[in-house]
């Protein structure tokens, strides 16, 4: 047994309202830069739907993840090492920008510059890739809320596997949102596909990261990840991915996407797992067994044997305590309601999902039944086979049984807790019928429905030699605050290095973002000329100050970069107009 700790997340899909706040805040924090305009570390897709990038789940086409080869060994679906190296000059399996979407902005300047004319001037869409006028035809959530259905929806690879009859019925019965981030897999095929060895899994917390210095832009990881959660930065020529907001979780605060989630549906905690058995679990022959195999990797943090091994493996005491209190562990193994996304990709994903019961409840209430009555709920779960097979394709490689069991538990909680809330005698046969005790149900209710901040996030801080967590948090601020004043040179400071966009030394992330934002707000072209960085993009305007190029200069005022200190202190010069609603 080799115990390792893994930072993991659970999302409760019943609560997702599809507001995309998580996507937007993540973008503001991490991909608010040129080269990654189309990159959404967090995206929210409507199911059924094509997903982002389009039809990424169709692994017969994109060949992501792992598969068992003829000898029954686990191998990369896109081909082994030699094949990878031979296709390095042009990767046939990489999605092109059209499979994502061509990012764009609007030509807002015409709104203020256009001469007096009969018709109102229009801000036309401009491509952020070529700078030309473009027709907006797709985006990261073009088929949001089943828009364009049924024409677009039928392209959903999962629906396709379910057959024709289902498709039609489906749209009337079922829709839900699926927020997705990188899965920080236990067996990451992105890392395995990287010829340079630039993608690594952190020993301490299992976060999967790309070493930006080692990445040489071979693009194999984009193919390797079946969830298409590695993106290629087309300006720097490097791969980028969700970082699980490691600078935040290291000091004990939740990821940006979780912290800002409107539905408060995300849970973060650590789980302990047996690293020696990952390969074995990922190689299980029957796809339906993968869910249980993956669960069996997780170790019980209350088991003294596990605790001893964990300490031998150098996992600090407070991490073991955090593992015991981990909401993720409880949702997966105690309540058994969280399922992995597409276990059949065999990457052992570590973002788990509680499948949504709400479509079943909606269906019931629509037809005049009591959506909180245990009997009608159980009956409906069994009757609504189509949603269940769809969910099963997502979470259990097509095996309906675990999905059914989870929904039954959620239904049981719903009707059992209703009686309690209404002051009636609760029906103890309900928990019994789903193999739980009333205490279990009440604990589960506390975690799912009340969902206090400190219950949702149990994040132990990183251990750094000679520093306590407060000091670390302070240091995090320090790196950001000091460097923005002290630091010179590097790409963040003023345009590109001598060898194009990506050259120059590394600068602290905070400094980089600060300068990018500044440059963007003060530029006057849509596409960055390859040698300079300039851009107006309202999406990135933070609402502070009046990004100068948004308005024509007043008399006696020069166009140019706003004074940094002035922007930060908020003392606007007379020429700067406060944004009005």
């Amino acid at each position: 047994m080799r115990v390792m700790a893994q930072m993991a997340m659970v999302m409760n899909l019943d609560k997702c309202i599809g507001c995309h706040t998580c996507s937007v805040t993540c973008k503001q924090a991490w991909t608010n830069r040129s080269g990654v305009e189309y990159v959404w570390f967090n995206n929210v897709e409507t199911r059924p739907g094509q997903g982002y990038p389009r039809t990424y789940q169709d692994q017969e086409r994109w060949k992501g993840g792992w598969a068992l080869n003829r000898r029954g060994n686990l191998s990369l679906k896109a081909g082994g090492r030699v094949k990878k190296l031979l296709s390095i000059f042009s990767n046939p399996l990489m999605p092109s920008i059209q499979d994502y979407y061509e990012p764009w902005t609007y030509d807002y300047e015409t709104l203020t510059n256009a001469p007096a004319q009969e018709h109102t001037p229009v801000a036309r869409p401009k491509s952020l890739i070529s700078g030309k006028d473009m027709k907006v035809q797709w985006s990261a959530n073009w088929d949001d809320n089943l828009a364009g259905s049924p024409a677009l929806t039928v392209e959903d690879p999962i629906l396709k596997t379910l057959g024709d009859k289902v498709k039609l019925e489906f749209e009337q019965t079922f829709m839900f949102y699926l927020p997705r981030i990188c899965e920080h897999c236990l067996n990451p095929s992105c890392a395995a596909s990287c010829p340079s060895g630039a993608i690594y899994k952190r020993e301490e917390d299992g976060i999967v990261l790309v070493d930006q210095d080692r990445c040489k832009g071979w693009r194999m990881c984009v193919t390797g990840c079946p969830y298409k959660k590695i993106y290629f930065n087309h300006r720097t020529g490097k791969a980028e991915k969700c970082t699980f907001c490691y600078p935040r979780v290291e000091v004990g605060i939740p990821t940006v996407c979780a912290e800002t989630c409107v539905g408060r549906l995300r849970y973060i905690g650590i789980v302990l797992y047996d690293a020696d058995r990952v390969l074995e679990a990922a190689s299980v022959e029957d796809e339906h067994e993968l869910y249980m195999a993956q669960r069996s990797l997780l170790l019980d943090p209350d088991d003294p044997e596990v605790q001893r091994e964990a300490e031998l493996a150098g996992i600090p005491r407070d991490w073991i305590t955090a593992a015991q209190k981990s909401p993720v562990w409880a949702l997966i193994n105690r309540f058994e309601i969280a399922l992995p996304l597409h276990p059949e990709y065999r990457t052992m994903p570590m973002v788990w999902y509680i499948p949504p019961l709400s479509p079943v409840v909606d269906r019931l209430t629509e037809t005049g039944h009591d959506g909180e009555d245990a009997k009608s709920l159980f009956g409906a779960i069994d009757a609504l086979r189509i949603p269940i097979s769809y969910l099963a394709e997502l979470f259990t490689a097509g095996d309906p049984k675990p999905v059914r069991d989870v929904l039954a538990r959620l239904a049981a909680m719903r009707s059992f807790m209703r009686d309690i809330n209404l002051g009636r005698e609760p029906d103890v046969s309900i928990p019994d019928s789903v193999g739980m005790t009333p205490e279990d149900i009440e604990d589960m209710h506390r975690l799912l429905a009340i969902a206090k901040y400190e219950d949702r996030y149990v994040i132990p801080t990183a251990h750094v030699e000679g520093a306590d967590p407060q000091e670390l948090a302070h240091k995090l601020e320090e790196t950001a605050a000091e460097c923005s004043l002290d630091y010179d040179g590097g790409p963040g400071m003023g345009g590109s290095g001598p060898f194009g966009e990506s050259s120059g030394g590394a600068s602290p992330l905070a400094v980089e973002n600060f300068h990018m934002l500044k440059q963007r707000q003060t530029s006057d072209t849509f596409v960055d000329p390859a040698d300079k960085r300039r851009r107006v993009n309202l999406l990135n305007w933070d609402g502070k100050g009046a990004g100068k190029d948004l308005f024509p200069p007043r008399e006696g005022e020069h166009r140019g970069a706003p004074d940094i200190a002035q922007g930060a202190a908020g003392t606007d010069s007379p020429g700067v107009v406060e944004p009005r609603p």
Partner: protein
Amino acid sequence: MTGTELLLWVIVPYLCLAVFAGGHVWRYRYDKFGWTTRSSQLYERRLLRIASPLFHFGILAALGGHVMGLLIPKSWTEAAGVPEVAYHAVSLTFGTIAGVGTVVGMALLIYRRRTVGPVFSATTRNDKMMYVFLAVTIVLGLVTTVLTNLTGHPHDYRETVSPYFRSVFYLQPQGELMAEAPLGFQLHVMSAWLLLAIWPFTRLVHVFSAPVGYLTRPYIPYRSRDDVAGSRKVKPGWEPVATSSRRP
């Protein structure tokens, strides 16, 4: 050796080699982040699918040919019983195939770079300069090979260019050998030296990160977190003011 020969075939080459070596060391130390292929596949993949492998495999074959032709002395192949005519026939055939592949691939790539909007706007001045040097060197190489052979009296570069090239590395440069070679060869060799001089400052550095280690390393690398909390390592010389006990 005359003064001109000394300058052209001894001083300039050594300068170029020094810049080549020093430039790589410098770039590796200070600009690892900029060390990339900067692939444009995301923008366009249909043309790239044909052109890029054609060019790259072509140039790898040409490189192999150069290694053979330049580094293996004529006396060795003769000792191994390979007659001059056979050697030339083989080298001409393979050289032409590789050369034509390279040139066609390169032409397609340049065409793509110029006509596909997004690819063109991602092209820096540095790239354009690099393309000029690279294209001139490659075309001169191919033209020289084909032309001297068409005349019926192929120049035996293994009497001139090859010994000269090796002599540069023995540190006993024999510039006068180059002076005997036809003009085509001289131009090709000179442009190659210059190409080497700009090499470390262009995207060509990606050649030196050919990921052969991939064949043997374990599939999934594990790494320990850097001991510095926060976004990235503090640059040398910019450590925050702190007592020694607070330093990580």
